[in-house]
């Protein structure tokens, strides 16, 4: 019964943590805008969220069965499956960071992060309202 209350929260929680991961990725791209040879990266957000909320194991994920095991990110959020962006304009130092695109993505991701935060507080408030006594004002 109780997990039915928190199931909808679970989806938003996954979305929030993926958003914060993508925000960090975009910040790295902006930080390396002047580094020679740096290739800008991004994650396929839709498939990462689909994998995280599907409830079944991600193919290729490593299971951490002992306390010393590494548990690297798997699926679309893992380092090997992140996407590389191509340079919008040719660059002599083979840096593929397009500052306009990265800034736009960063702002977009920030707004969507905030939207996810509001969805969470909205559904928490709805649950709290449902639990309120009817007679209390």
């Amino acid at each position: 019964m109780l997990n039915r209350l928190t199931d909808s929260l679970n989806f938003q929680t996954q979305a929030l943590s993926l958003r914060s991961e993508r925000q960090r990725l975009l910040a790295s791209n902006i930080a390396n805008a002047d580094t020679p040879g740096y290739q800008a990266r991004d994650m396929d957000f839709a498939s990462a969220l689909r994998e995280a909320t599907a409830g079944k194991g991600i193919p290729g994920a490593m299971a951490a069965t002992q306390s010393g095991h590494m548990a690297p990110a798997a699926g679309a959020r893992s380092d090997s499956q992140k996407l590389y962006s191509t340079a919008a304009q040719t660059n002599l130092d083979s840096n593929s960071v397009d500052m306009d695109r990265e800034r736009a993505n960063f702002a977009d991701n920030a707004v969507k992060y905030e939207a996810t935060l509001r969805f969470i507080s909205g559904s928490v408030r709805t649950t709290m309202d449902a639990m309120k006594s009817h007679n209390a004002s």
């Binding site: 929030l16 960090r24 380092d79 800034r103 992060y113």
Partner: protein
Amino acid sequence: MSMFQIFSVSGSAVSAQSQRLNIVASNLANADTVAGPDGQAYKARQVVFQTALMGAGNDLASAGVRVSNISEDQTPGRKVHDPKHAQADAEGYVTYSNVNTVEEMVNMISASRSYQNNIEVMSTAKNLLLKTLQLGQS
């Protein structure tokens, strides 16, 4: 908590860019210096940026920047014929530094824009984290 690493990533970029600005300032300050007693004029310097992984376990998602090297421009300095100058050589030429002021000004603008970009990234991340702290209140 992956968003906290934005501060170390952008912080490293800001410090690398400020080092670049520092180098530009010394280049511009020495744009008109002549060769010293050793016959060597000031040589323009450039920073070389390199990606530095900041996260635990060398996570590629948090890639900061560091200055890996400061290279000196080896092109010969500007020579001006001025036999009356105190630093003139036997043929009457004075060697000035090889700083290109136009290039340095462009470099300065680029460094300052990147600096501002990273500061803005940090303030956005701070706002988002503060809003996350307020989750469930109000």
